[in-house]
């Protein structure tokens, strides 16, 4: 069964942050896992062309062949690597990345992003493609975010994260003229701090950009998440009942519910 409203095309969800170290990759991996539990056929694409590390997070030897797929040397089915049984298996998903530090795709920039987006949009075997974007706000990162169906910006209570997330929102809005990513707060000590963090970004965007990003949710600061990263294991497998795993699951359900046929379309947030 396809959950997608896009009539045979996968729904592209980009996850960016501006700043590095916000936990973007752990979130991308965990969301892919949680969305797969919701029954979606998910492809996780590590769109950090220079320093991909999703495979490191999952302790995978094979992370797929993104350079080969981009160079038309292989088909998508041959370029992906299955994780936890692969897409279509309950809780399993596929991954495609470039080997970390391989350098093949470095400096691919906006053109590389455009090419990859075109190819991913034709990946009919998936309900959703999750794009784990690189840190920074270069043209390639912004192109991925701008051309996806929806974009999430991850930030932490760290002030530098706020300024970088704001830069991400601002540049994305400038590039697309009307799109604003949804906010996902990571590593807040409690709900109150998460809400304050999101509100700070929302207030900044309202004042300076005349736009109001939606608050998607928060993943709390949780030693179990760090433990999963260090053990190179999936958070939802290693600590399924942890606070961070439950938060990821709740966010995945929110994303999934919006994707189901007949549900309200995702609000790609217009500047107002």
């Amino acid at each position: 069964m396809s959950f997608n409203n896009n009539l045979g095309k996968p729904h592209l969800t980009a996850i960016g942050s501006g700043k590095g170290g916000t936990g973007k990759t752990l979130i991308a991996v965990s969301l892919a896992h949680a969305l797969a539990y919701e029954g979606e056929r998910v492809l996780l694409c590590d769109a950090d062309f220079e320093l991909s590390n999703t495979s490191v997070h999952l302790g995978l030897d094979d992370c797929g062949d993104l350079p080969g797929f981009l160079a038309n040397e292989c088909r998508l089915e041959e370029a992906i690597a299955p994780v936890l049984g692969g897409a279509g298996i309950h809780g399993g998903f596929d991954i495609i990345a470039a080997p970390s530090g391989c350098g093949t795709l470095a400096n691919s920039g906006e053109i590389g992003a455009q090419q990859l987006l075109g190819k991913l949009k034709a990946a009919k075997n998936y309900d959703r493609v999750l794009l784990d974007l690189g840190a920074g706000v270069d043209a390639g990162v912004l192109r991925f975010a701008a051309s996806s169906d929806d974009a999430l910006v991850v930030l932490t209570p760290d002030p530098a994260s706020l300024t970088d997330a704001y830069a991400f929102v601002k540049l994305l809005q400038q590039m697309t003229r009307n799109r604003v990513p949804q906010i996902l707060v990571n590593m807040a000590v409690n709900d109150s701090e998460a809400r304050r963090t999101a509100d700070a970004l929302i207030a900044t965007c309202k004042n300076f950009l005349n736009s109001t990003p939606d608050y998607l949710g928060a993943i709390p600061h949780d030693p179990n998440a760090l433990d999963a990263v260090r053990k190179q294991a999936a958070l939802l497998t290693l600590h399924p009942q942890s606070a961070s795993a439950r938060a990821v699951t709740a966010i995945a359900q929110r994303l999934h519910n919006r994707l189901r046929p007949g549900s309200a379309p995702l609000r790609l947030a217009s500047a107002r």
């Binding site: 207030a203 900044t204 309202k206 300076f208």
Partner: protein, 353 residues
């Protein structure tokens, strides 16, 4: 965007630090109680404003070069260029010796009402002070009173004034300040006919997280104010703009101002004709406003209207120089007004400091 975090003993100090460090355009993005006491405020300012200033610099430089005559206007532009080149760092202009004709000229440049300019020049001369600023301050002191709002004690503030004076923004500023003093606040909207008036106040209310109620009649307002008074909530009442010299409108507003617990505050803009403002402020005072708030100092280069409002038979509560809620309410003393009037003619700074 520049982001700064400020730790201070209270909100008033924190906001002062925000303004000093980031300027009037700064936006408070978050505030919370700091561990161990005090407050932590995070504020941001967009770089765009400074970029625009840099772009404008070239234009003003050309303008300045084209001005050959060493008159008052030239001084103003020279001062403006100096300010643009040196960011927010301002040098205090040298003291000027008192000269009645020169003072009169300065007041005329500010478009102060003729009668007021002559009266101030005469009183300043009688003060016998050699410093022009101090002499003018002395003259102003005899005609103006400063009385800032005490938001910890006020019960209901009714903001009245002409259209476009900035009443809704002032209501939001007052509400924001009161909240920072840890006072419960309620915004009361009474302008049910103005297009988008309530929606605008609602936006402000949402932004500063203050509840809003709508009162469609004097009776409803009276009940809403009584409820606030009972619960020790500060009621900030925004009203429709009106001409206080118009007899029919006057009687309606006079009824509102007579509601128990209500203090009427006149709100006028400094960006208006000084004679008009003098008339309007006098009419508001006659309607019961004992204090005035003057808005728009950020865009008003000539301060005659401010001087006219400040010298009415009412106390000057505050002035505002920013459209942003965080820009706050400032107080203005006779000395600071005198300094603004004199310095603006020397340095091009068109607003009161």
């Amino acid at each position: 965007m520049r982001l700064r975090t400020f730790l201070a003993s209270d909100m008033r100090e924190a906001l002062g630090n925000v303004r000093a460090e980031l300027g009037a355009e700064a936006v408070i993005v978050s505030s919370e109680k700091a561990k161990g006491g005090g407050v932590m405020v995070r504020a941001a300012v967009e770089e765009t404003a400074r970029e625009v200033l840099r772009e404008n610099l070239a234009v003003f430089s050309e303008w300045h070069n084209a001005m050959a005559a060493p008159d008052c206007e030239t001084h103003r532009h020279a001062g403006l260029i100096h300010r643009l080149r040196n960011g927010r760092v301002s040098e205090k202009p040298a003291a000027r010796n008192f000269n009645r004709a020169e003072l009169l000229q300065i007041l005329r440049t500010h478009r102060a009402p003729d009668a007021l300019a002559h009266a101030l020049a005469e009183t300043a001369e009688k003060a016998g002070l050699s410093d022009m600023t101090l002499a003018l301050a002395s003259a102003l002191e005899k005609r103006m009173t400063s009385a800032a709002l005490d938001l910890t004690k006020s019960i209901a503030l009714l903001l009245t004034g002409p259209n476009g004076a900035g009443k809704s923004a002032v209501a939001a500023k007052i509400a924001a300040h009161a909240r920072l003093c840890e006072r419960h606040v309620r915004l009361i909207a009474t302008d049910i006919t103005g297009a988008g008036a309530i929606a605008r106040l609602e936006t402000f209310a949402q932004h500063i997280d203050v509840p809003i109620v709508v009162a469609e009649s004097a009776e409803e307002l009276s009940r809403a104010v009584a409820e606030c008074a009972k619960e020790n909530i500060l009621a900030v009442i925004d009203t429709a703009g009106f001409d206080p010299r118009n007899g029919k409108a006057r009687s309606a507003f006079a009824a509102l101002a007579k509601i128990e617990h209500v203090e009427a505050i006149g709100v006028v803009s400094a960006c208006s004709d000084a004679e008009e403002i003098a008339d309007i402020a006098a009419a508001l005072v006659s309607l019961g406003a004992r204090r005035l708030i003057v808005t728009g100092l950020d865009i008003s280069r000539r301060l005659g209207a401010l001087a006219a409002a400040a010298t009415q038979n009412a106390a000057l509560a505050h002035v505002t120089r920013s459209p942003y809620v965080a820009g706050g309410l400032e107080t203005l003393t006779p000395l600071s007004l005198a300094r603004a009037l004199i310095d603006a003619s020397q340095s091009g700074r068109g607003s009161a400091q």
